[in-house]
């Protein structure tokens, strides 16, 4: 992994990034002013929130939407809460 402050002798040539998906390590959660909280009791597992999330932050495991939202990356847009057909997601002030 390339670190801030690395010099030209150690970084790959031509601006290549030599690994896939490493943006996972970049935290965008700090952009948020409100965070989504999922009420599992209300959730009907329709997966709309999962599909609509622009930040790939609604997680699904084995076909079940998780209430463990990826707050490292969720930017708090509120789309999930807005689209939830059963109002199972609430936007809560940080």
């Amino acid at each position: 992994m390339i670190k801030p402050g690395d010099g030209y002798k150690s970084i790959p040539k031509g601006g290549l990034i030599l690994e896939g998906g490493n943006a996972k390590r970049y935290n965008t959660g700090g952009w948020r002013t409100k965070k989504p909280v999922l009420d599992k009791d209300r959730c009907i597992n329709c997966h709309l929130c999962w599909a609509f999330c622009p930040d790939v932050s609604i997680l699904s495991k084995d076909g079940v939407v998780s209430d463990q939202i990826d707050y490292d990356h969720c930017k708090g847009c509120g789309i999930c809460a807005n689209e939830c057909p059963v109002n199972a997601i609430e936007m809560v002030k940080e």
Binding site: I2, G7, Y8, K13, G15, L16, I17, G21
Partner: protein, 393 residues
């Protein structure tokens, strides 16, 4: 076994491309390059190469697709001229900045406007700072030899930069010359297989090419590029040495023609060097100590080496087949004067801009340049630092 053949410059380059057998060629026709890609596409149609030929809709796409192919690990080539090169401009920098070893013949032609299809160097000179290695050729033989060597230079791990193989439009591209082409198997062996260190089609090791590179790393990547250009000098000479063993033909950064004891000299590129040799021979017969320095490698610029040769002359004329409109002379002139200044050489250097838009340059005109140099030595005065040779008032 190499063979002696009669070919135009375009045909010779098409033969070089056939022997290189690139995985991908993406090219667009433009005068005077057309015959090259036309001939090559016949090789594709006849199954003589493994190449996927991408018949792009513009030169911009030609360079773009070549970049894509090269980033995918393919040996990728294209060819162009003049306005085609100008249309590629943006992507030239992307190719070199991404460190892709693309080889591209450029059939030098005047840039519009007004539109003109004939030879000058305004196309390649404009691209001299694009991070491409630039090789120049006096004739079809040299252009062919440069193309084969360019592959090795570009793909060298310490270089990984693209190369332009320049030849003069019509004068070299369309005239039939007798030249020697190497055996297919010798070229194959000489260039070897290309294995990209990292490429897009390695699904187990995905990479990202061309990211947004901001204040924190862009400069470092440019520094690497600068070092690679510096490295290319040694590689160019190594490859030339190996090529000599194969072909018997010798190449260096430049050719010195009767410079050993010369007092006056001309610096020229491409086919004009051939004309200048005629002028030197005539003057030598008259006892004039004239010589010629023909630049083969213009980028990287072998400044120290050129200065070392020119410093013993009394006066030098640089012939530029391109106007820079700086009002201080052409591009090659600027480079030559600057390196002589570095070593504080006591040599007068003047500039002649000539041959724009394919205007003929004749032996007699070049002789007149040498006469001007003699006058500078005799009088100790430079009347015109920059002149335009062969233009009507």
């Amino acid at each position: 076994m190499s063979s002696k053949v009669a070919l135009t410059g375009n045909e010779a380059l098409a033969q070089a491309m056939r022997q290189i057998n690139p995985d991908v060629v993406a090219a667009y026709p433009i005068t005077p390059q057309t015959a090259m890609v036309q001939t090559f596409s016949q090789f594709v149609a006849d199954g003589e190469v493994d190449t996927e030929y991408v018949t792009v809709e513009s030169e911009h796409s030609a360079m773009s697709a070549t970049v894509g192919a090269s980033a995918a690990g393919a040996r990728a080539m294209t060819a162009t001229a003049a306005n085609g090169l100008a249309l590629m401009w943006e992507v030239l920098y992307i190719a070199s900045g991404t460190r892709l070893p693309i080889v591209m013949p450029v059939v030098n032609r005047a840039l519009s406007g007004p539109i003109n299809i004939h030879c000058d160097h305004s196309d390649a000179m404009g691209a001299r700072d694009s991070g491409w290695i630039q090789l120049y050729a006096e004739n079809a033989q040299e252009a062919y030899d440069n193309a084969i060597q360019a592959l090795r230079i570009s793909e060298h791990k310490d270089v990984m930069l693209p190369t332009m193989v320049n030849l003069d439009g019509f004068i070299t591209s369309h005239a039939v010359e007798s030249l020697e082409i190497l055996a297919d198997s010798d070229v194959k062996e000489f260039i070897g297989e290309y294995k990209a260190e990292h490429h897009l089609l390695d699904s187990k090791n995905p990479i990202a090419v061309g990211p947004l590179d901001l204040q924190d790393f862009y400069f470092e990547h440019k520094m690497q590029q600068s070092i690679a250009m510096e490295n290319s000098k040694e590689v160019i000479l190594e490859v030339a040495k190996e090529y000599k063993e194969l072909s018997g033909r010798e190449y260096e950064f430049f050719e010195e023609y009767k410079l050993d004891d010369a007092e006056i000299g001309i610096v020229a590129l491409n086919s004009t060097a051939g004309t200048a040799k005629g002028a030197v021979d005539n003057l030598r017969e008259q006892g004039v100590k004239a010589g010629l320095l023909k630049i083969r490698v213009y980028r990287p610029f072998p400044g120290e080496e050129i200065a070392e040769v020119l410093k013993s002359l009394k006066a030098v004329a640089v012939l530029d087949r391109a106007e820079s409109f700086s009002t201080n002379g052409g591009p090659v002139f600027g480079d030559i004067r600057s390196i002589l200044y570095n070593i504080k050489a006591d040599v007068e250097v003047v500039n002649y801009i000539y041959g724009l838009g394919g205007r003929d340059i004749k032996v007699g005109e070049i002789e007149s340049v040498y006469r001007d140099l003699e006058e500078i030595i005799d009088s100790g005065n430079v009347k015109n630092r920059v002149s335009h040779l062969g233009v009507r008032e």
